[in-house]
């Protein structure tokens, strides 16, 4: 079992030694159960770090902010940033390295193995507790979570309230790390695309009905792309019309912007937005499931990305987030790529 004391010890050491400028980790929130991202700058603050099943965030998203901030600074601190990652999050680091968005030497990775479980799904937990508020959720030695409510402690099999992505996790172990916490345990997974089947097995019209209902809910708050570590573009192609990139952007360049998608949250526009996201994440999405977690309208966005992940695997034998040196899914090909769909 991962001991938070070990993480704290290492965090304290690297901060004390000045190895990192700060550490991105998890801390307790002020208002309830879930953790919140923590930005720890001093060894004293290390005490705030926690590790429990509420540490859902993919903190690599904040490396994007870090890069932007650094670009603005006149004399940036060149030391690396410490970052706490789970297996899925570590794959995001791989893709960011692959796309040269970050450099290996700019990060110090504190990798945590999820061992036999993962992180929880807040909505599932709320249901499990019939709307009662949980005060605390902890790992135990086995495959259970220990939940504390006002009524006391209880043990729940982790699988019952585990996030969907964790139930379909392809590697719960950080593929990249400078220091590792926890054991490398292989979770047995019969099919990492299992949940997709229930949509794939629907008839075409039912699938359309499903997606129309889901995407019609979209309010285009863009939380899905905002939380996504792969959506690090300075400007999303979806936004082009509103964006003059810098003061140097000429009128000519501005006139060249295309409105691929309107701001209106109508069926057609929502579809194009989510298509663009899915296709741009094909071969890049590492299934951290954050887009789906943050969606205020509960749109099962993970399915779109998962579908692309499945096709990448099945058609092209491609897995994102394992090899920083491989070319991206759509920037390479094999002679024997399938073409049975082509006339």
């Amino acid at each position: 079992m991962v001991k938070v004391e070990d993480i704290k010890k290492e965090a304290k050491r690297i901060l004390k030694e000045g190895k990192v400028k700060y550490i991105i980790g998890y801390k307790k929130s002020t208002n309830g159960l879930m953790s919140v991202p923590a930005f720890i700058e001093s060894p004293e603050d290390v005490e705030n770090l926690i590790w429990d099943p509420t540490c859902v965030y993919n903190l690599t998203r904040f490396l994007v902010d870090e890069k932007r901030r650094k670009a603005r600074e006149k004399n940036p601190d060149e030391r690396p940033v410490g970052i706490v990652v789970k297996g899925c999050d570590s794959r995001a680091i791989i893709v960011l390295l692959q796309e040269k968005f970050i450099n290996r030497e700019n990060i110090y990775v504190l990798g945590i193995s999820c061992e036999t479980t993962g992180v929880l799904d807040e909505k599932k937990l709320l249901k499990k507790l019939n709307g009662k508020k949980a005060e605390k959720v902890e790992y135990d030695e086995k495959d259970n979570f220990i939940i504390t409510t006002l009524d006391g402690k209880s043990k729940v099999p982790a699988d019952e309230i585990l996030a969907e992505r964790c139930l379909e996790c392809r590697a719960n172990f950080p593929v990249i790390n400078d220091i590792l916490f926890g054991e490398k345990v292989d979770r047995k997974l019969d099919n990492r695309f299992k949940s997709l089947e229930k949509i794939e097995s629907l008839s075409k019209e039912k699938r359309w009905g499903f997606w129309k209902e889901q995407l019609d809910k979209c309010i285009r708050c863009y939380a899905c792309r905002s939380v996504c570590p792969m959506c690090y573009c300075d400007e999303c192609v979806v936004d082009t019309i509103n964006f003059a990139v810098t003061a140097d952007t000429t009128a000519e360049e501005k006139a060249q912007r295309i409105k691929w998608v309107e701001k209106s949250p109508t069926t057609s526009e929502n579809f194009v937005y989510h298509f663009v996201r899915a296709i741009h994440l094909a071969g890049r999405c590492i299934d951290c499931g954050e887009c789906e977690r943050v969606c205020p309208m509960d749109i099962p966005l993970r399915f779109l990305n998962k579908k692309m992940e499945k096709e990448a695997k099945e058609l092209f034998d491609y897995d994102a987030g394992f090899d920083p040196d491989q070319p991206s899914l759509v920037s390479c090909f094999k002679d024997e790529d399938p073409e049975d769909f082509i006339r």
Partner: protein, 649 residues
């Protein structure tokens, strides 16, 4: 400034007007935003038609032109030049293809007209957003590289050198001369191959404009037309050619004998040897693979006897970098592999020879000094069977293509055999006789009529040894009978295939191969000496099987093509190339990965286009997730607006 577009709709006689209501197209287009002038005319490409355009540009102050007519492959250049003469940039004209893609393929006038209107409108939307561009100018390195020192390479090198351009001629074997120097006599004139080739070889070696690099291989090529950078690996010969006096003392002491490549194994040579007497450069070389050891302790006898101290065991491979403006690839051919021809006993029976071996037997300087003798028992063969199309024209088992030269050289072989062995009989098994070429048909007839060569139309099924004879089983399809010949010798006209290593060379040069592995020309009819990569040309049998006159002709053609580049101080390249918006670029490098021309690279974390290399294919633009790269004048915005125009209204 508001855009002022003129639309010109061509009737093309009735070719367009027959199915498209051109008046309606003209009228509809006049309503299109941005269009200030539209008119139709019976033949836009005629002089009066072009004058209409010029006049309209002047009168209406047009700055954009759309001509709705035939396919842009036909008259795009015409009309671009037209608007140029009226003072507009050539890129301000676009063609709406309403003939090939519309009037010629539809019958319903209403529907065809509607489609023609949409095509024209979408073309207006495109031209409205075209940038005025000027061709990209590139300085030229006025030297050439010729790869391959056979007859084609030699001819190209000499043509270039005589036109006063410096040439680097790279040959991977120790001497230039290629396969031609192995030949005895050449069809149809029967002049001696060595006699006509050696003067050219000497000219190469003495030419002040030619830098000859034998025993060398091209290792890496970068750059682009006009400005290639080439890395050449010069392999060590362990003999200093400047010191070697060709005294031949070394071979006398060398203890090693290995098959002689020049004679295709019909003779042997020492580990230190000269490839053949007339080799250029004229020097001995040490074959490291057969030499017992470079260390004096292992053998070193040759060095002991070498008076001028030409032998240098410490010679190291060298990498030589050259800069050139054009490249001619003349990497030649090889014969089809003998392992693949087991049914004819090739490689198993010593008296089954291939065409080149027979050339050596015929050669006055060959292993038998020009006498025809069986390798097995040195007896004169009285019955010789020549088999054509060995490995050629056999799509099931071997090569699909015709090797082209075999009909002629087999006739020559049979004829020369008869000249040597007057009482002998020559048989030729053939599928067809292909003797197109000046004096070729007459030559074949001469073999039949004057030399009594017996031509049998059919294939040989098997060759096997039977009591000192080679039994040849075949069929004569003309009389429909099985034939059995007890031959003393069998000569196989082996298929011609791309030389060993051609594939690797093509990869280094980034030029394509055709389905048979020969180097692919840019266009089979109209650009037969150009490769798909601009600035690289093809000569000789590397591109397809060829005889000597053809190889020489193509070599001169390639040289002329190369000269057409080298004679210019600057080159011009289409300016419709990719363009990076560095504000959007995140430097992920996906465009760099997909670029087929290595035109993209990352510089300071942003993609950068080498405009000279870029061919404007736009694969980068479709790959970029951030829309940070686009090809000029076919930008995503233009396509977006074209989609809109196609579907709107």
């Amino acid at each position: 400034m508001k855009k002022r577009t003129g639309v010109f709709v061509c009737h093309c006689g009735i070719n367009i007007a027959g199915t498209v209501d051109v008046k309606k197209v003209t009228e509809e287009l006049s309503k299109h935003p941005g269009v200030v002038h539209s008119e139709d005319y019976i033949y836009m490409c005629s002089d009066p038609g072009q004058n209409l355009i010029i006049d309209a540009i002047k009168e209406k102050n047009l700055d954009k032109v759309v001509v709705a007519c035939c396919s842009p492959t036909l008259h795009e250049t015409t009309f671009r030049n037209t608007i140029k003469s009226a003072g507009l940039n050539t890129f301000q004209c676009e063609i709406a293809n309403i003939r090939e893609q519309c009037s010629w393929v539809h019958k319903d006038m209403e529907k065809a007209t509607e489609k023609a209107i949409k095509i024209s409108k979408s073309t207006v939307e495109r031209v409205l957003r075209n940038e005025s561009l000027d061709p990209i100018s590139i300085p030229v390195t006025r030297r050439a590289l010729v790869i391959g020192g056979g007859i084609a390479g030699i001819q190209s090198a000499l043509d270039l050198a005589n036109s006063d351009f410096e040439v680097v001629l790279v040959e991977r074997s120790p001497s230039i001369g290629g396969h031609m120097i192995q030949l005895s006599e050449t069809f149809p004139t029967l002049d001696c191959s060595q006699c006509i080739l050696t003067p050219k070889m000497v000219e190469v070696s003495k030419h002040p404009n030619i830098k000859l690099m034998t025993f060398s291989e091209v290792q890496e090529i970068s750059g682009y037309i006009g400005n290639f950078k080439v890395k050449i690996l010069k392999k060590p010969t362990y003999v200093d050619p400047d010191k070697c006096t060709l005294c031949d003392e070394c071979t006398k002491v060398c203890p090693v004998v290995v098959p002689n490549e020049f004679d295709l194994g019909l003779t042997g040579r020492r580990a230190i040897y000269i490839p053949f007497p007339q080799a250029i450069p004229a020097t001995y070389i040490l074959d490291i693979n057969s030499c017992p050891g470079l260390l004096p302790i292992a053998c070193g006898k040759c060095a002991d006897v070498c008076e001028p101290n030409a032998i240098d065991f410490d010679m190291k491979p060298e990498i030589i970098e050259e800069e050139v403006g054009a490249i001619i690839v003349a990497s030649g051919y090889d014969q089809y592999d003998k392992e693949l021809m087991a049914e004819y006993g090739y490689g198993k029976y010593p008296d089954v020879l291939d065409g080149l071996q027979f050339e050596r037997l015929l050669s006055a300087s060959g292993p038998t000094m020009g006498k025809i003798l069986r390798p097995s028992d040195h007896k004169e063969p009285k019955e010789v069977v020549f088999i054509q199309c060995v490995g050629s024209r056999d799509p099931e088992l071997h090569c699909e293509y015709c090797s082209k030269i075999c009909c002629m050289y087999t006739a020559k072989h049979a004829m020369l055999y008869k000249h040597h062995v007057h009482d002998g009989q020559a048989y030729v098994f053939y599928i067809d006789i292909r003797s197109g070429g000046k004096g070729y048909e007459e030559f074949v007839q001469r073999a039949v009529e004057e030399d009594g060569v017996l031509y049998l139309r059919g294939k040989v099924s098997k060759v096997f040894e039977d009591k000192e004879k080679l039994k040849v089983w075949g069929i004569d399809t003309l009389i429909g009978k099985d034939i059995e010949i007890d031959a003393d010798m069998v000569v196989l006209a082996m298929a011609t295939r791309p030389s060993n290593g051609a594939e690797e060379l093509a990869r280094k040069l980034k030029i394509a191969l055709d389905k048979d592995g020969f180097l692919a020309e840019a266009h089979p009819k109209l650009r037969p000496v150009e490769s798909v990569t601009s600035g690289m040309f093809l000569a000789g049998a590397a591109q397809a099987p060829k005889d000597i006159p053809e190889a020489v002709a193509q070599a001169s053609g390639a040289a002329a093509k190369a000269i057409s580049i080298l004679c210019q101080e600057r080159l011009y390249h289409a300016p419709t190339v990719a363009n990076v918006n560095i504000n959007l670029c995140t430097g992920c490098g996906m465009c760099v990965d997909v670029c087929p021309y290595d035109a993209l690279s990352l510089k300071n974390g942003k993609a950068e286009v080498n405009e000279v290399l870029c061919e404007g294919c736009g694969t980068c633009s479709a790959t970029c997730l951030r829309a940070a790269i686009q090809v000029k004048n076919i930008t995503p915005l233009q396509v977006h607006e074209m989609i809109n125009a196609c579907l709107g209204g």
